[in-house]
């Protein structure tokens, strides 16, 4: 039997397994199986490729596989769930880097290629390079190795545009005559690495969820481009799936923040002071955890709105214990999770799942808002901007139009907060001054511990 046919048939099977794997991700019940099936597809693709008769040197390949697997398993086991955005940023970057290297090494192995092949190598190197350094900057910002503040300099957009144009010109020079244009390719490599850095440094830390989603999409597109380089369907199929996934997540995150993608990429959010706002009327009431307990104890339904402050305070486990006590007391408990509650899409869900909160208790913004007026107590923990009614009512507010969880419509709102400081966006929150709102000042974890103690006594 012809070996090439066997290989391509196996790639077809692997593609089907990837697609089925993603399909099973549509429910938490089947998701784990989906991941296995997808991994099986990858395993088949890799093993079959190793059998290819084109491969004559196995030593380096095995060494590379062993080293990579070791690092991969180790980091996957060690990483904390709070650091998942950093992990994903790194993995995106590595995917991009390998696309760049594949394009480069194919050229080095045989520089006498057609124009079309040269164009695919150019694209693979360009997209791979941008993905690599862009992800590294995103990783550094997320892990606070460098400041999360947007870094802007004058003429930045013009410079980036010029650099990109230069890349395109080099790409054309390279493709017209690939055999003798190695230096153009090197120029593209260097330029793409620089471009990746320049594209991400002007983006603020708060916008990183959008950036990782976008880079996720780039890493897929880079794999696609590498697929064109070696005329391999499975790279193209997989790359397209990932590219589509990244784009969907990017648009979801942009919508949740009420910003356009161009606005995220070029405006340097948080670098400008926000304009004037409507004056906030009302008075802040504060409550002790003991008073709060009496209300919670009598409540029929409680909605918990967690923000990233909850994770920072490491209060996921105590919040789970607290919600179980409420349920035992006959109260209906739900969690309302805003798309930007964590630091990447779905991050808060993972953090709560880690603490053992059942996934069917987690609801989305659109599910909870219509029933908000039936909620007895809405408990806001470490969230601020996502419950700010100014986004709905005050068209002069910087976050006007952003979809929010309408906590202010609940019968009672308890806000667990350290102080009256404003949130990430630096915007005052009229929710704190509403008549049905009370503040419970102090460390969220400590307050929850006090509440738990009250329920137990």
């Amino acid at each position: 039997m012809n070996f090439d046919i066997l290989i391509n048939a196996s790639y077809l099977i692997a593609s089907v397994l990837f697609i089925m794997g993603l399909k099973l991700l549509s429910s938490p019940k089947t998701a784990r199986k989906g991941n296995f099936i997808s991994a099986l597809g990858m395993f088949i693709a890799v093993v079959v490729t190793l059998l290819s008769k084109e491969i004559i040197d196995y030593k380096l390949i095995l060494a590379g596989l062993v080293v990579g697997s070791f690092i991969g398993v180790y980091s996957a086991k060690k990483v904390a769930m709070t650091s998942m955005p950093e992990m994903v940023a790194l993995l995106n970057g590595f995917g991009g880097l390998s696309s760049l290297l594949v394009g480069w090494s194919v050229y080095v192995a045989d520089p006498s290629i057609s124009i079309l092949s040269a164009i695919t190598i150019f694209l693979s190197v360009l997209i791979g390079g941008v993905t690599f350094t862009g992800s590294m900057v995103a990783w550094a910002k997320l892990s606070e190795k460098i400041s999360g503040r947007p870094l802007l300099f004058s003429g930045q957009k013009f410079f980036n545009f010029t650099l990109l144009s230069a890349m395109v010109i080099l790409g054309i020079l390279f493709s017209m005559n690939p055999t003798v244009s190695y230096s153009s390719l090197i120029g593209v490599i260097a330029g793409s690495l620089l471009l990746g850095i320049l594209l991400v440094i002007p983006i603020g830390g708060a916008d990183m969820p959008v950036v990782i989603s976008l880079l996720n999409s780039y890493s897929g597109i880079a794999a696609c481009a590498a697929g064109f380089v070696i005329a391999n369907n499975i790279l193209i199929v997989s790359g397209a799936l990932v590219g589509a996934s990244g784009i969907i997540l990017t648009s979801i995150m942009c919508k949740a923040m009420n910003r356009s993608l161009t606005n995220v990429l070029f405006s340097g959010f948080g670098s400008k002071a926000s304009g004037k706002q409507q004056e906030i009327l009302g008075e802040v009431k504060s409550l002790t955890s003991q008073d709060a307990y009496h209300v919670l104890e009598a409540a029929k339904s409680v909605l918990i709105v967690p923000g990233y402050g909850l994770a920072v305070a490491q209060a996921q486990h105590i919040v789970k214990e607290f919600s179980e006590l409420l349920e035992k007391n006959g109260t209906e408990v739900k969690y309302a999770i805003h798309s930007v509650a964590g630091r990447m899409p779905g991050h808060m869900n993972v953090l709560l799942a880690e603490a053992g909160v059942s996934y069917d208790l987690l609801a989305e913004t659109d599910d909870v808002n219509p029933i908000m007026n039936t909620v007895d107590v809405c408990l806001v923990i470490g969230a601020n901007d996502v419950v700010n009614p100014a986004a709905r009512d005050d068209d002069t507010s910087a976050i006007y139009g952003m979809p929010i969880i309408e906590a202010d419509k609940a019968k009672n709102v308890f806000i667990l907060k350290r102080s009256m400081g404003s949130g990430f966006a630096g915007i005052a929150n009229p929710l704190f001054f509403k008549e049905n709102s009370s503040m419970i000042f102090g460390d969220a974890k400590k307050t929850l511990q006090e509440l738990v103690a009250e329920f137990k006594s």
Partner: protein, 98 residues
């Protein structure tokens, strides 16, 4: 590569994009982080490309570049699948109290 091959590959590309959009839009927001790390692992499929270009033997620079590509793509694949599995393991539904 000739235009015919390019066209065939583009054919696959376009259809896969449609399938991708169809599939991903069905993933609930609660699974978006595992989706991202899992799809990330899939994009490590460049590993296949890296294997081919390293195994060719011959030119030293090409082999070295291919080797480095293998290492990073493998981290991408293995790390991605493992961490996704670790996350998905945590998603549990409470057993119904009898």
């Amino acid at each position: 590569m000739d235009a015919q091959t390019l066209l065939l590959l583009s054919f696959v590309l376009v259809l896969s994009i449609f399938v991708g959009f169809e599939l991903i839009s069905k993933v609930p927001s609660t699974l978006h982080t595992p989706l991202m790390s899992g799809s990330n692992a899939i994009s490590g499929i460049t590993l296949v490309g890296a294997l081919v270009s390293t195994g060719l033997g011959g030119v030293t620079l090409g082999t070295v570049l291919g080797f480095v590509a293998i290492v990073f793509a493998t981290i991408n694949v293995v790390g991605g699948y493992f961490v996704t599995n670790r996350m998905l393991e945590m998603f549990k539904k409470k057993e119904d109290p009898k």
